[in-house]
């Protein structure tokens, strides 16, 4: 997903847009930006500073600076929940846990190169079950006897799921088992950092109420979810941009970019 958040000098959100990234659109962050500018009713020349974050941060030629999603997520989450100490983000690419203090990132851990424990895991399994992604959460809440899914590989877990179904296990019990598997993996990873409340959960998977519940069960504490869990990284980038400008202005070294062009990234040509 490509997300853009535009804020003003008092941290008021003027626009927020979320669009599928896709293969071709990987280089078209400019189109999402244009949409956001339209929503905010401002021109590109009105934008003081742009920070690009996330896996695609190098594909945004019109950005002033690149900052990792770790720092930006921590910042964005702390904006919604100032008392946050532990932030967990499960997206389509990876899962990460962050320790936050006074709104700043202090430590982090990220999942390794494996789809299990990411949103991709649920996408693959939902497809195998013939369900839409947003049906998984409510369905799993109906479960009375979740089945354990022990495989840590997305492909093998899919086979395990099919096997459970062929044995007549109820669909909701299988889905609840899947949510427990993904939440268990991420909780184990997060515990390496010492989980302290408040715990905030973001990323696309945080929209799934089944995983939120499974994460609470695994961590043994309440888990807070912002109303727009996909936007914390982009919001964090916007907040970091505003702070960067303030810092540069205080040093007397801020030089605003003039005539910024919204261009597509060209390195795929």
């Amino acid at each position: 997903m490509t997300k853009v958040v535009v804020i003003d000098g008092s941290d008021k959100v003027l626009a927020s847009v979320v669009r599928h990234t896709g293969a071709e659109h990987r280089r078209l962050a400019n189109l999402v930006m244009e949409e956001a500018l339209g929503q905010a009713a401002v021109a590109i020349d009105d934008i003081t500073y742009i920070i690009a974050t996330g896996y695609g941060r190098i594909s945004v030629p019109f950005a002033d600076k690149q900052v990792t999603e770790l720092t930006c997520h921590a910042r964005g989450v702390a904006f919604f929940f100032p008392k946050v100490r532990t932030a967990i983000d499960i997206g389509g690419q990876d899962a990460k846990a962050m320790k936050v203090k006074d709104g700043k990132l202090t430590d982090f851990v990220m999942s390794d190169k494996c789809a299990a424990g990411t949103g991709r895991f649920l996408e693959v399994i939902a497809q195998a079950l013939g369900l839409k992604l947003d049906e998984l959460g409510p369905l799993s809440l109906k479960s009375t006897r979740k089945v354990p899914v022990s495989n840590i590989c997305t492909v093998f877990a899919q086979q395990e799921v099919v096997n459970h179904l062929s044995e007549g296990t109820a669909l909701e019990d299988v889905v609840a088992g899947l949510h427990d598997a993904i939440a268990g993996r991420v909780a184990r990873m997060a515990r390496r950092l010492k989980v302290e409340p408040d715990v905030v959960f973001t990323g696309g998977v945080a929209k799934n109420v089944g995983v939120v519940k499974a994460l609470e069960d695994n961590l043994g504490c309440p888990v807070l979810v912002p109303s727009e869990p996909l936007l914390s990284g982009a919001l964090g980038a916007a907040l970091t941009a505003r702070e960067t400008v303030a810092k540069l202005q205080a040093q007397g070294t801020f030089a605003p970019v003039k005539g910024r062009k919204l261009e597509a990234a060209t390195f795929f040509k």
Binding site: Y55, V67, T68, E69, L70, T71, D94, L105, T106, D107, F108, M110, D112, K113
Partner: protein, 390 residues
């Protein structure tokens, strides 16, 4: 004697790309080339007998295709790559191969190498893993046996005088490497972390005398050049398992950081302590290769025979040299890295990180799979770490 036309860093780059270039020349001139795995085979004995030691490494740019027939895929990818490289004929110039008990996989590889690569001379030193007195005595005996075997291979007697001369030559090399590392103390350092790996790899591809001449050339060139590394926000210390390719460090140095010090084995680890010249040279060699080199393959603890241990005191004994490095090279962060499936370094990681935390040095742990293409996801971790410490 032909020693190549290029000098200094140009020669380093040449040898980094084609490591065996010089030893192939020496072999055609009648010299015997002896491969060695990791840093525990005793190079001084080879040098003393006019054999040319050549460090065996893997190739992280080459997919492992042949070694999987002999080694399971869930063991050290570096050692699998070493075997794979050999099975593809890239070590066909070796007349001998010397291994030691670096770890269980390394020891098993020694036997597999013997049966599959079939280097004409093959010797395995069963180096102990603890540093108490009885292990030292054991290693002295083992080195005596290696000496006899190597004499048979070289076809001549290895006298104490020859051995002492070789120890002095290798100590000169150690002093030169330390002098090179002094050039990493200024800010910005005069030499990058990526260049350091290339230099040490070149040193480990040449006979000791030629390597020393190369080091001298590099040191004088680096001191006077104008295009060294730029000043960056972070000065990092890298601790961990073998990095025989510069790509991981290049990735780190493409960000806002210079790698100014390391404790790795294509780095400072084999060079920071001299071999003491003892009346029986074997005593000094045993002490050096068992006690002085600080690789996690050797288990060291503060008070070996105590039944109750004090964890923090123990960590201090084992890792305080890292704090000394960080202070002397003014490092403000530590990259703790290990190749995946390296039990040896893996078990050490929590202790190293606990110690660093205790002394207030921020650190990050990076596990890599010994493949160049898999470094990109690590970049986000390193960049995130730099954002925290800056």
């Amino acid at each position: 004697m032909v020693v190549g036309t290029k000098q200094g860093m140009a020669r380093v780059d040449e040898l980094y790309k084609e490591r065996a270039q010089r030893v192939r020349e020496l072999k055609s001139g009648g010299k015997k080339i002896v491969g060695y795995l990791c840093i525990y085979p005793v190079l001084e004995m080879m040098t003393a007998l006019d054999l040319v030691p050549f460090r065996v490494v893997g190739d992280m740019r080459e997919p492992i295709t042949k070694a999987d027939s002999y080694m399971p895929p869930v063991v050290c990818p570096f050692l699998r790559s070493c075997l794979d490289t050999a099975l593809k004929g890239k070590y066909d110039f070796l007349d001998g191969m010397v291994t030691s008990h670096i770890c269980d996989v390394g020891s098993s590889l020694s036997g597999i190498w013997n049966y599959t690569v079939k280097t004409p001379y093959h010797y395995h030193i069963d180096t102990p893993h603890t540093v108490h007195q009885t292990s030292l005595e054991q290693l002295r005996g083992l080195l005596g046996a290696f000496r006899t075997s190597l004499e048979g291979f070289a076809g001549k007697k290895l006298t104490d005088a020859m051995l002492k001369k070789a120890i002095l030559l290798h100590n000169e090399q150690r002093a030169l490497v330390r002098e090179l590392y002094e050039l990493k103390k200024p800010d910005p350092p005069l030499i990058s972390g990526a260049e350091t790996i290339k230099i040490i790899k070149a040193v480990q591809s040449l006979p000791a005398g030629e390597a020393n001449a190369l080091l001298k050339g590099v040191i004088s060139q680096v001191k006077s050049r104008k295009n060294g590394p730029e000043k960056k926000s972070a000065r990092l210390l890298v601790w961990g398992s073998i990095l025989d390719d510069s790509s991981l460090i290049e990735m780190i140095e493409s960000l806002d950081a210079n790698v100014v010090m390391d404790d790795t084995c294509v780095g400072s680890r084999p060079f920071f302590d001299d071999v003491k010249l003892t009346s029986d040279p074997i005593d000094g060699l045993a002490q050096h290769y068992l006690v002085d080199i600080k690789c996690p393959r050797t288990f060291r603890t503060r008070d070996f025979f105590a039944t109750k241990k004090n964890y923090l005191e123990d960590l201090k004994t084992r890792f305080s040299y890292l704090l000394d490095y960080a202070r002397a090279w003014n490092a403000n962060g530590v990259i703790v890295e290990s190749v995946r499936y390296c039990d040896t370094h893996g078990y050490e990681v929590p202790g190293v990180r606990d110690y660093l935390k205790e002394v207030g040095l921020p650190s990050i742990y990076l596990e890599h799979t010994y493949t160049e293409g898999a470094l990109a996801p690590l970049k986000t971790r390193v960049q995130g770490f730099l954002e925290i410490i800056s």
